[in-house]
Amino acid sequence: MESKVISKQDIAPWLKGLAEKYDVIAPVTEDGVTRFKPVDDPSAIDLGPTPAKSGIREHFTPETETLFDYKLEGLSAEVTPPEGIKKDRLIFGARACDAAALRYVDAVYSNVEPVDTPYFDRREHTAIVGLFCNKPSWTCFCTEVGDFMMNPINMDVYLTDLGEKYYAEALTPKGEELLGSSQFQPATGADKQAVEAHRESVQAKLPKPVDHAKASESYDWDDPIWQKLAEVCLGCGACSFLCPTCHCFDIMECAKGKKGSRFRCWDTCQFDKFTLMGHGHNPRPSRVERTRQRVFHKFKYSPERYGMLGCVGCGRCVAVCPVNIDIRKVIQEIESEDKVSA
């Protein structure tokens, strides 16, 4: 597919032109925190040099989602399923890590029948325009766990910032259609070379690949690190809730007299009641088990079950942890002699 370029000034008119077909979702900064939100006015978009505080996850697995409404009448009840997505969405400015994380969540939500239909409805109706990271954050380590920064997946278009303009590659037929707008011009050979050189220079500063899946085969269930982490970890859900591959949820009822709804909301294996059973038994009663579960699930159980890591190296958990639990250091410590370069 032919590569194109678009002047930065033409981004706003391009997005405005798409408004009829797509609801545009892009990074917006409010009170110093950047999040992906629906935007009507493209001038509000803040692409910033480093990835947004939170990713695109909430647009596929919402923080809270109604599963159905119900109504009680005497002894009987009526149930109304929710409506599907009415209008396509376009996520603008997603990073490679966030898009790659969708591959993992796709795998989890379709691994066993029945598949998660509300999630796939959103996936089907969303186009993603990604952005190459000019300035990775101090917490970024996507190159250690995958090569999607250079070879993105789950995106329709990949943009690379060339200063006054973006280099645009269509990665899917939908992407090609998006680049068909008049604002896009064909890219030149010089553009292509500039992009390659730029990407190489950014990649060079990032960590080298490590075969964590292989190393995880010899993880120690009783490694003393879990005791150490358990003492320091506060047991909040910040790491999980900002993680693009985390997909766990709780199902609860919102009852208002004779009517109400059942909804699902984000949950995390880090909360103490996550695995607590009705009669009191809890297979993961302390933070020793829970911190171990987080690491094992992402780096060991996920490769075993889905053939891929449950971590895309976005580093958000590192950035947000109030007590500086750095998963890169944890992995390094439990892999010490077993570290294998891919």
Binding site: D31, V33, K53, E63, W138, C236, G237, A238, C265, V323
Partner: protein, 315 residues
């Protein structure tokens, strides 16, 4: 200062006075620190004291003292949490020794927004702020920008509970009045205040980082986690978020000592310490008492005096 700290910690551990010294060690980046449970003299060597030491380590005390006496490194603000924990019988006096460090102020990470974080080598105090050393040189940042807002308005001297003092607290000249942010807030009408909090609570993802980072939130089962009587679900709709935050704020009224960990821990930038500060002021107005100052006092909202203000109108 770090040498004195490590020497003291080693002494406490070797003499058997405490089994653990909870302090700070270097984090995974030069502008971060991590909590450390030092139990051996070797581990005590890892203790640090520098501008990155922002955490309030008192949050670990209720659990840690179950294993025996503990020493904890505290800044004057953190020490107030120890007072409250003693007041509320969460730790016994004999089980905790505070190691009070002289604190000019601690790092506001926002101050490093223009610095290449991957290039930072160290963060140190200077006479009027901090000095950040990077691969390409040194950057001086004045305290108005370098320190957390709570540090700028800090007027604290020696804390009430100071078992070991590692030096004199600097003479303080608060550059920002501690009530300034609340004053701005108090200019808002009730409807504006409602909109202010509604806007902020709408951002809440209910990660409970605020609660978990708070030394005052030590309940074994938080009201928000009850499943039997479900006071509040984990839906992130604005009403439920409001309920959670306002209830938690009320539970902390008269007990919040303003360490600001809730706001620091919040991934969504909700100004939680404003809520705590406002309620602290309300309590001070009504009951003429401030939290974190007198370990012998009874909890202000857990006790009653005849002189307490009576909101009920006279007949």
């Amino acid at each position: 200062m770090e040498k004195e700290l490590r020497d003291k910690a080693r002494e406490l551990l070797e003499s058997g006075q405490v089994g653990t010294v909870i302090g700070y060690e270097a984090g995974s980046a030069p502008f971060k620190c991590a909590p450390l449970y030092a139990r051996t003299p070797e581990e005590a060597e890892r203790l640090v004291w520098n501008p990155t030491c922002v955490n309030n380590l008192a949050v670990y005390l209720p659990q840690a003292v179950k294993q025996g006496p503990v020493a904890v490194v505290v800044k004057p603000c953190d020490a107030k949490s120890v007072v409250e924990l003693l007041k509320e019988n969460q730790v016994e006096r004999d089980d905790v020794k505070t190691i009070v460090v002289p604190c000019p102020g601690v790092l506001n990470l926002d101050a490093l927004a223009d610095v290449d974080l991957s290039d930072v080598r160290s963060v140190e105090w200077t006479d009027d702020g901090i000095k950040v050393t990077t691969g390409s040189g040194e950057v001086s940042i004045p305290k108005e920008k370098a320190f957390l807002p709570k540090c700028l308005s800090c007027a604290l001297g020696d804390p009430e509970i100071a078992d070991i003092k590692l030096g004199e607290q600097p003479v303080r000249t608060p550059v920002v009045d501690s009530k300034m942010s609340v004053e701005e807030y108090e200019k808002l009408s009730p409807l504006e205040r409602r909109e202010f909090w509604a806007k902020h609570f709408a951002k809440c993802i209910r990660c409970y980082a605020c609660r978990q980072a708070c030394p005052g939130c030590y309940c074994k089962e938080c009201f928000a986690d009850k499943l039997g009587q479900m006071w509040v679900t984990r839906s992130t709709d604005p009403t439920t978020n409001w309920f959670f935050h306002m209830t938690r704020a009320m539970h902390l009224a008269g007990r919040c000592i303003g360490c600001g960990e809730c706001e620091r821990a919040c991934p969504m930038g909700i100004p939680l310490s404003l809520l705590g500060k406002k309620l602290e002021m309300e309590v001070e107005d009504m009951f003429e008492t401030r939290p974190g100052e007198d370990a012998e006092a009874l909890p202000v909202l857990g006790s009653w005096k005849a002189e307490d203000p009576d909101p009920c109108p006279e007949e």
